[in-house]
Amino acid sequence: MTRSAQWLYGWLLLLPAAVLLALFTHYPAVATLWHSFRSTPRGSRASTFVGVDNYAQLVDDPIFWQSLTNNLWFAIGTIPLSITLALLMAVWVNGRIAGRGFLRLAYFTPTVLPMIAVANIWLFFYTPEYGLLEQITGAFGMPAHNWLGSKNSALAALMVVTVWKEAGFFMIFYLAALQQMSPQLAEAAAIEGASRAYFFRRVTLPLLMPTTLFVLVNAVINAFRLVDHVVVMTRGGPDNATELLLYYIYEIGFRFWDSAYAAALTMVLLLLLGVVALLQFWFLERKVHYQ
């Protein structure tokens, strides 16, 4: 085969994937940026260039600020908790215990289930009066509470679902990393008299740092990307208490059809995620030991 034929062959192999990526990832990304600087076309009014008007509107939009705040609380409430739980579960099912295969499967199940199905199950748990949670609290004589219908508890109720779902997923990564560790490290430490807690703090945890970084970046992205549970369980309510960024973008774009403003919101979300990911790598990279 000549050089140019080889070159052609290579490109032909790459073409299907490249076309799909360009069509559904790169083009929409660039188009979104472009649209965020133009007005939304309506009826006979064609789209015009409006500069940063969409971004100016965003600054004055109280619901945008509320969804951003909600999202930050959501991230703070779910990420550390789900990562800690994932680590604890992984350490537990990595040990020599009876029925550990079953436990591993049980922890991973939430990840396998379709999100909509999961949301519906939890919807039943949270249902006022005859939901599972109500029946349990009722049995103890506690007052009735509408978990998803009350401003104070709706976001927290969503967080519980997310932690339940994410912890099992992250556990798999921790479990994989733990199984890579040589059991002789623990034996060497045992001979030196290190307690299990000391070994965990000085050896296990540092050796899990690459996994923690990976999981953390994913957790942040997931926290800002969550939309399915909101759609099924609360639709952003009550009174915007569970309005998260991506759901707000969805509402603006596909319920109010203000595509230009939705494009501007999307750019802000992308920028936010990019900056957070960069910061994480930058701060943690120095603390991470890659083998």
Binding site: Q184, E187, A188, A189, A190, I191, E192, A194, L207, H289
Partner: protein, 364 residues
Amino acid sequence: MSAIAVENVSKHWTTTSGQVRAVDSVSFALDPGTLNVLLGPSGCGKSTTLRLIAGLDHADTGRIWIDGREVTHLAPARRKISMVFQSYALFPHLSVQENIVFGLRVRKTGHADRDRRLKRVSELLGLSALLDRKPGQLSGGQQQRVALGRALIAEAPVCLMDEPLSNLDAQLRQEMRLEIRNLQRQLGITMVYVTHDQVEAMSMADRVILLSCGRIEQNGTPADLYETPANIFVARFIGTPPMNLLRLDKAGSEAVIAGTAGPGVAPLAWAGGMLGVRPEHVLLARDGPFTARVESVEYLGADSLLLCRIGEQILTTRVAGRVGVTGGDSVHLSWARGASHFFDAATGIRLATEPIHQTATMFA
């Protein structure tokens, strides 16, 4: 008082195919300040025995003493031992220095004491220039030294080593063998050293305990194992190439090598047994009493191995330098009376303990 005593220790593993006796009623006692090698083929229970002494595994039955103190049920950290693992088990995220002082930090040894001991150990092992490196930046030999350093800095009276040199190349292995032996003597440590390499065992040990299938085949000095192997297994395991073992048959009033007409090599009572003779003790001699046909010649440089057919059996002889015989030639062989070993064919146990020291010097 012995530094380590193991009494009737057994350890079973339960596998899918039933119970496996990894260590089967093993007993021995080791003197303080000696280097003791647990030797044997893979799966013979030598590593398990070491792990039982370390406390990483627990014996099903039997008792273990270290320094006169019973430790059978003590945690590894309370047995006053240090250990070097086959994989080195260095902490990959910690520097060489932190790896070495890991145990001192655990035990909260004082700052000054820690620095003094680190300095001593790193100078002893030539690690002073590498203290800030990570294990991943070191060669295999350097990693081995760090593992050694972590064991030595504990200043424990007993040091356990689990095939510490098996990941090194031949050249380095020879250097480290000498170095470990010197360190052990210099520091007066009691060492238990596990290996499957008989050269390591023979060259380093004060005492060799040869194991097979979880049982002790022989426990003695390297010379004991070489000169008076207790059974056929030991005879075959020690020495390269291994001892020749020839079936005996009766001819007239004597036992002869099966398939030959003579001469007689043993009394008639041993006719059903086995004759053992080491290849290096067999001589080519014009007037030798045994006639054999050369099957093949293997030239090794310093010496040559001759595979000879005697009767219907094969006997290997080792001759210095190059020899002028080739396959098909007829040769005459002889060996000193004391070079013969006799074993019971059924049990494999040594029949007579003829001292071969006097004759062995002839070949040295």
